[in-house]
């Protein structure tokens, strides 16, 4: 006897009869690209956390250069501004 379990995946409307794979792939690719250019510090920090090796050192140098490039263009500014704002909120006391 199969169990009928509600799932949040079942949307409360008629299913949309359009293929979803390319649409989803494109959505994820664009989101990833946006994060790659506007959140370069996250990639740099992640590479720095990896186990040291010649490849890691090379990747870290490239990531640092990428941070410099995106910062020079101003692409890293929105994230930095938000992060500073959040840090101020974190530091506030009663």
């Amino acid at each position: 006897m199969p169990r009928e379990t509600p799932s949040p995946i079942d949307l409360p409307d008629e299913p949309l009869e359009r293929p979803g794979l390319l649409w989803t792939g494109a959505t994820i690719a664009i989101a990833a690209l946006l994060l790659f250019v506007m959140n370069a510090v996250a990639l740099r920090d992640w590479i720095e956390e990896q186990a040291p090796s010649p490849v890691q050192a090379q990747a870290a140098a490239l990531a640092e250069q990428w941070v410099t490039i995106t910062d020079d263009i101003g692409l890293g500014r929105p994230r930095a501004w938000l992060h500073d704002l959040w840090k101020k909120a974190e530091g506030a006391t009663f």
Binding site: S7, P8, I9, L16, P19, T24, A32, L34, L35
Partner: protein
């Protein structure tokens, strides 16, 4: 490999691409998902992948024998052997040292000093989840609720990486029929999947992590040196933290599975709006509470079929064992006992209450239920019974302190976390209905910007999910 990390993000991008590229063959697709799941699990400790495979073999083999056996006594015996095998896995890895320590203390009380052969066994991540999943499959086959499945499907059912380490406990009846057909990725599933992933990321990386590091951990570590205001705030803070932590994992697991074409059941349904503890357990960790209800309370203990007094005892036993499921500590048993006791009291009250007696307003029921739950969380969070009583002592007799640990931001996050429980029902689904109409570039930009905002707010580093330890 934690969900809200770049490591997992890159892993998922690779898996998503490879698995959907191989969708011509459902069998190959499942094999690839299985390999990916083992890589995911092996990132913690490769040795435990063998345990996972062994556990899958145990359940596949015993279920296959059960399904081919006609004689009822033999079927039951084989099923029980399989269940005991699963319980042995849990017992050895999770409870062996705990029970030996208790035995050592007991012997000490009777004047016998013995060095117990403790093994300091490393707890395999998610062992409670995959053994419960295996047991439910085996019992379902024995009860003829589902047909026995092949080895690949069972191994994937137990190893599938979105739910592997912290649930939801997805039963065979939910997932095995989906494995039999090649899945399709619809815009509906993808849009709600993305909503759940981003929402889960926010709850975990921002709300739960911030409350944990900024308020809950320091106050619970040393309750005696904190004021009553801090203790109250940290108790509420932990209620929000554990909800945002665990429901975030479930949301992300459901979302990730949806992007791979599979449907997981709902695991949280705004639990802090429950007006009774019975209602709470229909909303909190639904896959565990329904598991305990179906397999332990009803199947093993008899539920309410043996009289009212036995029903109340069954409730208490179920919740005590449910508490012990979370870990080998007395504080979990007390937590389970508190919930079991209150559930039994609710049943007794329903029975003795006259029809013409006035009913409690729903809002009052919500407030009372929430505070019982918060009381239980203090035991759940405390490392020891003494720490929990020290915490409760501080709440009763605490002093005002010159400096407060609780911050304005913590108060906002507690308010936000509680407010999530008062949000309109199905809000995420309604958002998904709008998102599915957007062109991919627009939705991609929207998703990217939202993740960027969350990342800017997140606490440095990501603490493991609370339920990883279970």
């Amino acid at each position: 490999m934690l969900f809200p990390t770049l490591t997992f993000g890159l892993f998922f991008l690779v898996v998503f691409t490879i698995v959907w590229s191989a969708s011509g063959s459902n069998e190959w697709r499942k094999i690839l998902l299985l390999l990916a799941s083992w890589v995911f699990y092996g990132a913690w400790d490769w040795r435990f992948v063998a345990l996972l495979i062994g556990s899958a073999f145990l359940n596949w083999g015993t279920a296959a024998i059960v399904s081919r056996t006609e004689e009822e006594g033999r079927r039951k015996a084989v099923m029980l052997i399989g269940v005991v095998g699963n319980l042995c896995i849990l017992g050895v890895f999770k409870y062996y040292d705990f029970f030996l320590e208790q035995l050592g203390m007991l012997l000490h009380d009777f004047g016998f000093q013995r060095d117990m052969p403790l093994m300091q066994i490393v707890l395999p991540v998610g062992v409670s989840f995959f053994t419960f999943q295996g047991m439910s499959y085996l019992i379902d086959v024995y009860k003829r609720r589902i047909a026995a499945a092949d080895l690949l499907d069972i191994t994937l059912l137990m190893s599938f990486f979105p739910h592997l380490v912290a649930g939801p406990i997805v039963r065979g009846s939910d997932l095995l029929p989906q494995f039999r057909e090649a899945p399709k990725l619809t815009r509906d599933a993808a849009s709600i999947g993305l909503v759940l992933i981003v929402w889960g990321l926010f709850k975990k990386a921002v709300v739960a992590s911030e409350l944990s590091t900024g308020l809950v951990d320091p106050v619970f570590f040393d309750p005696a040196s904190h004021s009553r205001i801090d203790l109250i705030a940290a108790a509420y803070g932990y209620a929000v933290q554990i909800y945002c932590d665990f429901s975030a994992y479930s949301d992300m697991a459901i979302g990730i599975a949806a992007l791979l074409g599979y449907k997981f059941p709902l695991n949280f349904n705004q639990p802090y709006r429950a007006a009774s503890l019975q209602d709470f357990w229909r909303r909190w960790h639904i896959s565990l509470s329904s598991w305990l209800r179906d397999y332990l309370y009803i199947d093993a203990l008899g539920g309410n079929r043996r009289g009212f007094a036995r029903q109340c005892v069954n409730l208490m036993v179920t919740m005590l064992l449910g508490g012990l499921w979370h870990g080998a500590k007395w504080t979990f048993v007390i937590w389970g006992g508190l919930h079991g006791g209150v559930l039994a009291i609710e049943r007794v009250w329903d029975r003795i209450r006259g029809e013409d007696w006035p009913r409690m307003p729903a809002w009052l029921g919500v407030i009372i239920t929430f505070h019982i739950v918060v009381l239980g969380w203090i035991f759940f969070r405390a490392e020891t019974f003494d720490q929990a009583t020290a915490y409760l002592g501080g709440l009763a007799n605490g002093t005002a302190a010159a400096t407060l640990t609780v911050t304005p931001l913590a108060c906002v996050l507690i308010g936000l976390g509680l407010g999530m429980n008062a949000a309109p029902v199905g809000l995420g689904q309604r958002i998904a209905l709008r998102l599915r109409m957007l062109p991919a570039p627009v939705l991609g930009l929207l998703a990217g910007v939202t993740i960027l905002i969350v990342d800017a707010m997140r606490f440095e580093g990501v603490a493991p999910f609370i339920y990883y330890q279970f």
